[in-house]
């Protein structure tokens, strides 16, 4: 090991034993173990999913084929029926979902996060029933209107533009009413629950999952297990706070709570020494990132067409590079790692991109904390300000698509994007969330790019030694390979399912191996890593990194540039180059 500018850099020779002695490799093995287990659970059920999709197509297909001029009621019904194909709904999937569940949402009574008796659940369901019935009546009325309008458009053979528009508008209103009724119905299905036993079981599972491999890295299992109890309890408390109703409204998620609680403990009463063997930031984070890789499915970049790819994949690297240049050349940020992590979270997709970039360039935990903190603060502000600004200033016909694309390309976190999009309307939510999703896929590219840059250039500069291919391989963060491999393998499987039957990929991968497998654990692993970051972070060291407010200036510059460029690109792409495609949305 060699130290350069305070950053520890590995120097040495590749040895095969690293594959069972280094956390990078263990992250890959644990991640792959979970992914393969999910495939074993779900893949034998593809036949049942095919049946559901085929049934939907048989039931509504003929009606849907009447026209491609508008999206008819039959088209929506077929879409809804196809969406019911979710392999995670098999009994094993339901059990896995309930086993890995986080604490419940709660308002005033903290016990509601873990336990609810039958009496209280019944009372809640009964109070929600009235609201649901009202929304159901609105849905039925709007359906009758939509049905009538569609019939009139059909009598003209769907060739009259005015009648088509009137039918589309009525159908859109019915959809809004249907979604509102569906959400209200969900609230009537409150069931009693007790999460305490399963949370303990999940903690034991994680302890074994991480504890056995860590013995090969020189940490005794007993010591790890003891410390893990502490880290896991703080992680549960972080979820508990993030699901409190006010925190949910403001988008203060688990990452913020995990870091905050960890830092509160470490900077007041201090992190207990016996807990330190389980404070394994890199180990948890890299395992979570390998699982994240499986979610990066390349076929999805096509979802919103060429316009989307320009907004998400052309603007993002441009903003990343310009902001990085600004940080290095104009405000002279001393740490290239901090610069790269802030650029990634601000230009790509907030916390997930920050942790991927930080692990790829081996940033210090304080640098990641700072970058994540900046992202969380500005996300909370932009989630409120942007939709209000769009509603107040954008022309009515451009609020949904242009506004949605603008928010999707600039607000860092996906949840905040969804909330801000929903504020404007259903279509804005869809456009915003999809642009964000395409940006999410860029994480892999950016993480690889950052890893390559730091391995071959920055670390060479820091150590002053020229490196050959062997040394590059030795230094390269191996979890990035696991991340990319998971992404490529799952992308291929996803496309293979879709080739068999349109929609099978989403039923088996999106709503199966990912939503019912890797996603169940990924959030937990990131929480464990953020708790570890907090427990090992010192306020004073953090302050050092914030010296002169340079990280804030960097973020502000980058985000302002991002806002301008994304808006211009979205306007040009959606309204100048592809107006026809935009009208289809």
């Amino acid at each position: 090991m060699e130290e350069g500018n305070g950053i520890v850099v590995d120097q040495g020779r590749w040895e095969w034993s690293q594959m069972w002695k280094k956390e990078d490799w263990w992250a890959i093995w644990i991640g792959f173990f979970i992914l393969i287990a999910a495939m074993f659970v779900y893949f034998p059920h593809s036949g049942e999913m095919k049946e559901i999709i085929n049934k939907a197509m048989v039931k509504y297909g003929q009606d849907d084929r009447r026209t491609s001029a508008i999206k008819t009621i039959a088209w929506y019904k077929m879409s809804d029926a196809k969406k019911k194909a979710e392999v995670r709904k098999i009994p094993a999937g339901k059990w896995l979902t309930s086993f890995a569940a986080k604490p419940h949402g709660w308002k005033d009574n903290p016990m509601d996060a873990f336990f609810m008796g039958k009496e209280k659940a019944d009372a809640k369901a009964a109070s929600a029933r009235g609201r649901y019935l009202k929304k159901k009546i609105v849905e039925e009325i709007s359906f009758a209107v939509a049905f009538g309008a569609e019939k009139i458009a059909q009598t003209a053979g769907f060739t009259n533009a005015a009648l088509n528009l009137s039918a589309s508008t009525a159908i859109d209103k019915w959809r809004d009413a249907k979604l509102a009724a569906a959400a209200a119905k969900k609230k009537t299905q409150v069931k009693p629950y007790n999460r305490i036993g399963k949370l303990i079981g999940l903690g034991v599972f994680f302890c074994v999952l991480f504890g056995i491999p860590i013995t090969t890295m020189g940490v005794p299992f007993r010591q790890f297990a003891l410390g893990f109890v502490f880290v896991y309890v703080v992680a549960v408390v972080a979820w508990f706070f993030s699901y409190q109703v006010t925190m949910k409204h403001y988008g203060v998620g688990y990452a913020a709570w995990a870091i905050l609680l960890g830092m509160l403990i470490s900077n007041t009463v201090g992190t207990p020494k016996w807990a330190m063997p389980a404070v394994q930031t890199e180990y948890y984070i890299k395992t979570g990132l390998v699982l994240l890789g499986a979610k990066i499915l390349f076929e999805k970049i096509i979802t919103i067409g060429t316009a989307g790819i320009f907004v998400a994949w052309v603007v993002t690297p441009t903003v990343w590079l310009v902001t990085y240049w600004f940080g290095q050349k104009i405000i002279n940020i001393p740490s290239k790692r901090l610069n790269a992590v802030i650029c990634s979270d601000m230009s790509v997709c907030g916390v997930s991109a920050a942790i991927a970039a930080a692990s790829a360039c081996r940033a210090k935990k304080e640098e990641l904390t700072l970058a994540v903190g900046l992202s969380l603060v500005f996300t909370a502000i932009m989630m409120i300000v942007m939709p209000a600004f769009i509603k107040g200033t954008f022309p009515l016909d451009k609020q949904m698509v242009l506004g949605g694309a603008w928010m999707g390309g600039t607000i860092d976190a996906s949840g905040a994007v969804a909330a801000a999009g929903a504020f404007l309307g259903e279509k804005a939510l869809y456009v915003a969330a999809t642009i964000k999703m395409i940006q999410n896929i860029l994480i892999g590219v950016i993480a690889f790019f950052v890893a390559l840059y730091f391995t071959t250039r920055v670390e060479v500069e820091e150590t002053g030694a020229k490196v050959g291919l062997g040394e590059i391989w030795f230094r390269f963060p191996k979890f990035v390979i696991g991340f990319m491999a998971a992404s490529i393998v799952f992308s291929l499987i996803y496309s293979w399912f879709n080739l068999q039957l349109d929609g099978l990929g989403r039923a088996m991968i999106d709503k199966g191996a990912i939503k019912g497998g890797s996603d169940l654990f990924r959030g937990w692993f990131f929480t464990l890593s953020f708790v570890s970051i907090g427990l090992a972070t010192n306020f004073r060291e953090l302050k050092e990194h914030f010296k002169g407010g340079k990280p804030l200036i960097l973020y502000l510059f980058g985000q302002s540039f991002n806002l301008i460029l994304t808006l211009i690109m979205a306007y040009i792409m959606f309204y100048v180059v592809f107006p026809g495609l935009t009208a289809t949305i």
Partner: protein, 108 residues
């Protein structure tokens, strides 16, 4: 008490925990009630059951729905400017060209 570092540390922990309570149970709800835009966002988050603290697509309601809606809409419209068009491939290549340009000229 201030001379006792342990008591001071616990005092700080309790004080900061109190601040969290003040935000969650006093300031936050007050802002929702008195600042219209906050109230509206809170209502939407509640009604639609959006996990506004989610960090990755698919973690929040609407992400998958949006993706399916858009993809199916474009397929349904049968437009020839959707899919693996030259423009789309051009967009992908542009991304890598920009990164290549940055590698050569910005990240030196």
């Amino acid at each position: 008490m201030m001379d006792n570092p342990k008591a001071k540390a616990w005092g700080q922990l309790i004080f900061y925990s109190f601040l969290i309570w003040v935000f969650g149970w006093v300031v936050g709800p007050y802002m929702e009630k008195n600042i219209s835009i906050y109230g509206q966002i809170a209502q939407i988050v509640e009604e639609r059951d959006i996990d506004s603290g989610a960090y990755m697509y698919g973690d929040s309601a609407g992400s998958y729905d949006g993706e399916y809606y858009l993809a199916d809409s474009f397929k349904h419209s049968k437009r020839d400017d959707y899919g693996m068009t030259k423009g789309f491939v051009g967009g992908l290549i542009s991304c890598f060209l920009i990164l290549g340009f940055g590698w050569l000229f910005i990240l030196e």
